[in-house]
């Protein structure tokens, strides 16, 4: 297992190098001059040139890239934001807890809604419950997130006055954003749970369990669910990974100081170091989530467990 984890982490290296290079190239060739953006519409040429010099933007591409890699590798320094002058790492790390909380809560909501609904839907395939659950789930997927968020604010903050409308520092603040993310993710999880369960309950070993005289609820929970869990874990992990990259729209609607908005703002401001660092961070968290998902597989499925040895 340790070896396996180590190998996986090793595989991160080419991805990190690739991501770094590609982002660097992309940012370099994307129109929009960080100096001009920072100085705004009123900046004289001389000042722009001065700032470009200061930021090292006048150097050729490979010199800039080389400098970045050198600093990152030798000094473990991924630079400071052009705009705020803060260390990039610090900026990301201060933003990350909100994003993590939002992602975790959203996924939690989604799992709590999605898995039971999916199970019931599958065991009662084509029943009224199944149909209604599927329609609701589909509506959940279909509703644009930002719209749902705004509606949530209007209903729960403005008309009912139950919940605060924005910000993210007390549990009351977490509810709406988590629900916004949770419901749309729940839809995906419901559907995955349902189809995965449907597949599993047709398996021979479920028939074996029934032939032992096992009660239906136990057949479902003990025998079917655990087998159906792999694809469910996969989507949960995938969604969680995406959310860790920042749910930009939800973040901006609820004024959550998360990674997603930092990224968008930095991209718009051509704050290269932050973008670069942010993408790396996201790539790495994503890989970690994948790794955790794979380790979870091993917990759930002994066949996979034995492969990792």
């Amino acid at each position: 297992m340790h070896k396996y984890i180590f190998r996986r982490l090793l595989m991160l290296i080419p991805v990190i190098i690739g991501v770094t290079f590609i982002i660097f190239t992309m940012m370099y060739f994307t129109p929009g001059d960080p100096a001009k953006i920072m100085l705004g519409e009123s900046a004289p040429h001389t000042e722009v040139a001065k700032l470009r010099e200061e930021l090292g933007l006048n150097d050729p591409f490979f010199v800039q890239f080389g400098r970045y890699v050198k600093n990152a590798v030798i000094h473990q320094d991924i630079g400071r934001s052009y705009a705020t002058k803060r260390p990039v790492l610090e900026m990301i790390i201060t933003r990350f807890p909100s994003t993590l909380k939002l992602a975790a809560l959203g996924v939690l909501v989604a799992v709590l809604i999605g898995i039971p609904t999916g199970i019931i839907s599958a065991t009662k395939q084509y029943s009224l419950f199944d149909n209604i659950a599927m329609v609701i789930a589909l509506l959940g997927v279909s509703m644009p997130n930002f719209w749902q968020g705004l509606m949530g604010i209007l209903i729960f903050s403005v008309y009912l006055g139950w919940l605060p409308s924005s910000g993210f520092n007390t549990p009351a603040h977490w509810i709406l954003p988590a629900l916004t993310i949770g419901t749309s993710t729940a839809a995906i999880i419901t559907r995955m749970t349902r189809s995965s369960m449907l597949e599993v309950i047709r398996q021979d070993y479920i028939r074996t369990a029934r032939s032992k005289g096992q009660v239906e609820s136990k057949v479902i929970i003990r025998h079917a669910l655990k087998n159906a869990l792999i694809p469910i874990i996969t989507v949960v992990g995938l969604q969680f990974g995406y959310l860790l990259g920042g749910a930009v729209l939800t973040e901006s609607i609820f004024a959550v100081p998360g990674v997603g908005r930092l990224m968008v703002d930095s991209i718009k401001a051509r704050d290269f170091p932050v973008v670069q660092g942010g993408v790396l961070f996201i790539a790495i968290t994503f890989s970690f989530v994948n790794l955790i998902v794979d380790i979870l597989y091993a917990f759930v499925d002994p066949r996979i467990r034995s492969q990792y040895k």
Binding site: G18, V19, I23, P144, F146, G245, V275
Partner: protein, 300 residues
Amino acid sequence: MTDQLNVNMSNEDIKKKSTKKRSQYLEVWRRLKQNKSAMVGLLIIIILILSAILAPFIAPYGIDDQDLLNTLQTPSKDHWMGTDNFGRDIFSRIVYGSIISLQVGFISVGIAMIVGGSLGAIAGYYGGKLDNLIMRMMDILLAIPSILLAISIVAALGHGLKNVMIAVGISSIPSYARIVRASVLTLKDQEFVEAARAVGTNNTRIILKHIIPNSMAPIIVQATLGVAGAILSAAGLSFIGLGIQLPTPEWGAMLSSGRQFIRDYPHMTAFPGLAIMITIFGLNLLGDGLRDALDPRLKN
């Protein structure tokens, strides 16, 4: 010499079968037809496509008939869905918008499917280093936030339908590559592929003729769902100001420009929101139905 008898036997049987459906796709269609919700989905999509084609005949007004004296009217007889902040008829814009949204959906999925599909097929079929290289590239692409991709593309190529489609398309390449690769991996060891090789078929033909057609099922499903996703992504891009050229009536852009009026004039967001929802709903119903119809194990 051979047991000719067999051939003549159960003729009725064969006749019945051969007058039945010819291809597997027809078989799938037959199964799909029995799925009511999939048919509802299909109906929605057909209506959308029709309204997209017939927009000039359906829409009572043009897309950019501004009337600054009659802005933000709530739904009425003249304007079924009211007017927007420029006094334009929202219903007409939604009808015209279906062309745009469907275009965004289908073309960006098309881009992703062709590029991603080819990469996935190559990676899966040839395996080894090439596979590793392509899939690591996909990992990298996956790591790049789609918004960054979109901003870069939009910044480089400008706003507009085409570029939004490219942006959305590129960012979903990896998922198609993965799906195709996975199904190619299972297919390439199938005996019929080996049989093709045994009679001298070359790799290109094997991929094109024997593997791709058989991996269509998951791709089709992913594509229907992907069209929905693409429409939502485009709407999301509009929301952060990276949408489509004005005054093109793209639903996402309509939704996001109505956002400032959401409290007083919710109809400005409600109708485009609803249009998006219904479309995606339809596509999802269809996609789910296709998944069931294409998967013989789920058949009963």
